[in-house]
């Protein structure tokens, strides 16, 4: 089943082209890592998939439906870059944050039920952070923060999970644990995963496919083939390959 299809997508910021002619598609069960140099358009691509920024060309379809007509947003879980969009002064507790994952599927007037609170308790327990339920969100450590946002994404029972550099705030040990968890979600629950990372070693270890971007699609295919190709070891991409080895 086709989960995500991007065809000839072009995005422009003022006069500069951020993405040009990007085409790829993601099937159910794929675990896709998105990599590329700084300014390659990785986050822009995610934002364009969600329709957060306009495109000047091309089309995006989700679950076989054109993005502009797509309404089942609760089937997509999203974990943005740490500290990018969350209001740092907001005095929410963890339970309230995770409940947000259930709000989108509700019809007007949106009300939180006992079943919703139970679902939140269960997902927090599943992720090993049940004790954080009443803790202030702003007081969490980097690892706890990411797990709570993952819980927010998972509580809505998504078919597709999209992460923008999910491990930047984590120490190497927590990072490994986080990716093991993603692998488990992908293999046991069949959730399709799309994640951005600067660290290609995690793509090599966990993903089934890689989308290498540099404003255009430089490579899209299996991880094995990518690391065998000589052109991705030239000077332009050296940093990323080295970066990945330095973290091994």
């Amino acid at each position: 089943m086709n989960i995500l299809s991007v065809e000839n997508l072009g995005v422009r910021y003022e006069q500069s082209i951020a993405l040009d002619g990007v085409t790829f598609s993601v099937e159910q069960g794929d675990f896709v890592g998105i990599a590329g140099p700084n300014g390659a358009g990785k986050t822009t691509l995610i934002k364009a998939i969600f329709g957060l920024i306009p495109s000047f060309s091309g089309a995006v379809s989700l679950f076989g439906e054109a993005q502009k007509k797509f309404a089942k947003w609760q089937s997509i879980g999203y974990l943005p870059q740490k500290n990018v969009s969350v209001n740092p002064l907001f005095p929410a507790v963890v339970e309230e944050v995770v409940l947000l994952g259930l709000i989108s599927e509700k019809s007007f007037p949106k009300k939180v039920t006992k079943a919703d609170k139970k679902a939140v308790r269960e997902i927090l327990e599943e992720l090993g952070i049940g004790d954080l339920r009443k803790k202030s969100f702003t007081e969490l450590s980097g690892g706890q923060y990411q797990r709570v946002l993952l819980a927010r994404a998972l509580v809505q029972k998504p078919e597709l999970l999209i992460f923008d550099e999910p491990s930047t705030a984590l120490d190497p040990q927590s990072r490994d644990g986080f990716f093991e968890l993603l692998l488990e979600l992908n293999q046991k629950k069949g959730i399709t995963i799309l994640f951005i990372t600067h660290d290609t070693s995690y793509i090599q270890r966990y993903a089934s496919k890689i989308l290498y971007l540099d404003r255009k699609v430089m490579y899209f295919g299996t991880v094995e083939n990518f690391f065998q190709k000589k052109e991705f070891r030239d000077s332009k991409h050296q940093y990323h390959i080295h970066y990945s080895h330095s973290n091994d």
Binding site: W73, V86, P91, S104, K110
Partner: protein
């Protein structure tokens, strides 16, 4: 009114829109002058005019690509200058206009009570029905968009409700101090609250206490009610800062 300001103010403060109350109170000054100029009950004119002003603040920010504070400044300046021009054209209502600058809750009429209670009920109902959308858009606007929440609609709703609330508060504290009622109880609550519901509860509590004791002190010491309410709100804010530091 204290309830409305405390609840709405929380969303405004957290969305960095606190000064919209100040800007809209200046628009209401112009609107009240307009009402007095044409001999219409000022608050009837103020509600639609301030709502239009709030819409313009959003549109200027969006279309002219200026920051929100600059667009508030523009609309605010139009309100004040319009009011001053109308006051100078009609020399007869300056005293009435002055009474709106500082408000007087003790002089509120029965019609104004009914008007205020009705609109407060309307604003609180909207906040109740859209609570989770407002929560989501305030906590993380980008995430809210990805879940299909129409954040543009939420922004418009919030500014329109602010417009109505500002007009309602004018009789209590006046044009000059109305933004204090929106900001102070919320920022006080945010100093010590754990969880959003607790923050809302504390904001409402500080607001009600300020208004209640403000009126009593005003009566006992024969001082202006609006200014007393605001000064009490400032004292609550300072107490929360001390409590936070000690805690």
């Amino acid at each position: 009114m204290a309830l409305t300001c405390a609840t709405l103010g929380m969303f405004l403060v957290l969305r960095r829109m606190s000064l919209i109350g100040d800007g809209l109170s200046h628009v209401s000054f112009g609107a009240i002058a307009l009402g007095l100029f044409f001999g219409v009950y000022p608050l009837y004119i103020a509600v639609p005019v301030v709502m239009i002003g709030s819409y313009f603040i959003l549109k200027i920010t969006e279309k002219a690509k200026v920051y929100g504070d600059a667009s508030i400044g523009i609309v605010s300046a139009v309100g004040i200058s319009g009011g001053v021009i109308l006051a100078s054209l009609s020399k007869g209502f300056n005293v009435d206009l002055f009474s709106y600058l500082f408000g007087n809750i003790l002089a509120i009429s029965e019609t104004e009570v009914i008007f205020s209670v009705t609109l407060s009920f309307l604003v609180l109902s909207m906040l109740y029905f859209f609570y989770w959308d407002l929560f989501s858009a305030t906590f993380d606007e980008e995430y809210a968009k990805t879940t299909g929440i129409h954040t543009n609609f939420i922004n418009i709703l919030l500014t329109l409700l602010t417009a109505v609330t500002v007009v309602l508060s004018i009789k209590v504290v006046g044009v000059m101090l109305v933004s204090a009622l929106l900001i102070l109880p919320s920022v006080s609550a945010l100093q010590i609250a754990r969880g959003f519901k607790q923050a809302l509860f504390l904001s409402i509590l500080f607001s009600l206490l300020s208004v209640f004791f403000g009126i009593i002190f005003s009566f006992l010491f024969d001082i202006p009610a609006g200014a007393t309410i605001v000064m009490l709100s400032v004292i609550f804010f300072m107490l929360t800062l001390v409590y936070k530091k000690l805690g």
